[in-house]
């Protein structure tokens, strides 16, 4: 055992309330003594349950152990205690990246970078995520290069199931969950690019904004948002409390027809979501 670990262990033994458990657990983790690191940080956490640094470190130990689910929880706790905790943002960003949720990964890495603008690790991770995002957007045919294949297959299946037989199921209908994750459908830009995931990521924000505006202006729940532009019209609805449905059609299609199509797609989505539970 190296000298610094010995010294810190003695310090901690002499004063169990000491915060030296943090550098000690980190030193143990770096030497791959994960079980010992885990014991030290858990003892520290039992004394300091509100210390974001300790939750972050525990998250790293769990992550090294391959227990991503629990690591996610620990980093989540760290962020609740300290919403700007760069280490926890980094950790969660990494987990999202591994899961192929690139937009969320980027969001957390950006938050980490805001606190650590000079951290090369964060900058490199962001570059990788951005690269993956670009590949994702420009090559509609290929499966996501980073996301697990399972996610892609599932999305394709859903499209078949949810919007089967509906007009525009592959290029103008999109069902998204509250985190901006695409559940079904597809979307092509007027130039023919696959923009489904990119738009899906934005839709969660629009939905939150619509909910907030309706709530604060005391207008009750929002039902639809319609947008006209020169290239086409968009119709947004909320088939269930935590999903958003987007229907896009060329501007020549009357808004009334858009609404009717949205209605049909919404019932199809509801039926499908109910069948899952």
């Amino acid at each position: 055992m190296s000298e610094d670990i010995r010294v810190m262990t003695a310090q901690l033994a002499a004063d169990p309330t000491s915060l030296v458990f943090l550098p000690l657990a980190e030193a143990l983790r770096q030497r791959k003594l994960l079980d010992a690191a885990r014991k030290v940080v858990l003892a520290g956490l039992s004394r300091y349950p509100e210390l974001a640094d300790a939750h972050n470190l525990y998250g790293r130990i769990l992550g090294d152990h391959g227990d991503f689910e629990q690591a996610f929880d620990e980093w989540g706790i760290a962020l609740r205690l300290d919403p700007d905790h760069a280490g926890a943002h980094k950790g969660i960003g990494f987990l999202y990246f591994v899961a192929g949720k690139l937009d969320q990964a980027l969001e957390h890495l950006q938050a980490a970078q805001a606190t650590l603008p000079d951290d090369e690790g964060v900058a490199a991770a962001m570059a990788r995520v951005r690269e993956a995002l670009e590949l994702d957007g420009s090559d509609p045919g290929a499966p996501s290069p980073t996301g697990p294949a399972r996610v892609v297959e599932e999305t394709e299946d859903i499209t078949e199931q949810v919007f089967a037989g509906l007009e525009g199921a592959e290029n103008g209908l999109l069902l998204v969950d509250q985190h901006g994750q695409r559940l079904g459908g597809g979307l092509l830009s007027p130039a023919g690019q696959n923009v489904a995931d990119r738009v899906a990521a934005h839709l969660a924000g629009v939905s939150r904004e619509a909910t907030r505006a309706a709530r604060l202006l005391e207008m009750g729940d929002w039902e639809t948002v319609t947008v006209e532009s020169d290239d086409g019209n968009l119709h947004l609805a909320s088939p269930t409390a935590d999903t958003v449905l987007l229907v896009v059609r060329p501007s020549a299609i009357p808004l009334g027809r858009l609404a009717a199509l949205s209605e049909r797609a919404a019932s199809a989505a509801r039926a499908w979501l109910e069948s899952l539970t």
Binding site: P190, V199, A214, L217, E218, M219, V225, V227, S229
Partner: protein
């Protein structure tokens, strides 16, 4: 300029179901001119509608479409209508469930053209 704004706004508030109309700066969501029925929180309408329009604009642009020319939020007990009038200005109307949407849309598009 303000007189021109007010004239357009008052025209809008005469429409059925419209409880208020305002000219708002698009970027910061602050009120430039307003004509509101009593009890309508102008500052909140301006900030929230401008923010929703901005987010919607980003989404529309991510989809590869050009800038929105009209937005309508329908809620259980009310509606918000937004039309850009030039690059930095929005025309916003707030109304109840029974707003005459077709007419309001046309009037707003016309007013926006005049203001822009």
């Amino acid at each position: 300029m303000t007189a021109l704004y007010l004239e357009s706004l008052e025209g809008l508030t005469r429409l059925r179901g419209v409880a208020g109309a305002m000219v708002v700066s698009a970027d910061d969501g602050l009120v430039v001119a307003e004509s509101l029925m009593e009890g309508i929180p102008g500052d909140a309408v301006a900030a929230l509608a401008a923010s929703l329009m901005r987010r919607m604009g980003t989404t529309v642009s991510a989809a590869g479409f050009s800038r929105p020319s009209f937005m309508h939020l329908q809620a259980a007990r009310g509606a918000l209508l937004v039309v850009p009038a030039g690059p930095d200005i929005l025309l916003i109307a707030i109304g109840d469930r029974h707003i005459n949407l077709g007419l309001a849309r046309i009037e707003m598009l016309q007013a926006a053209e005049q203001l822009g």
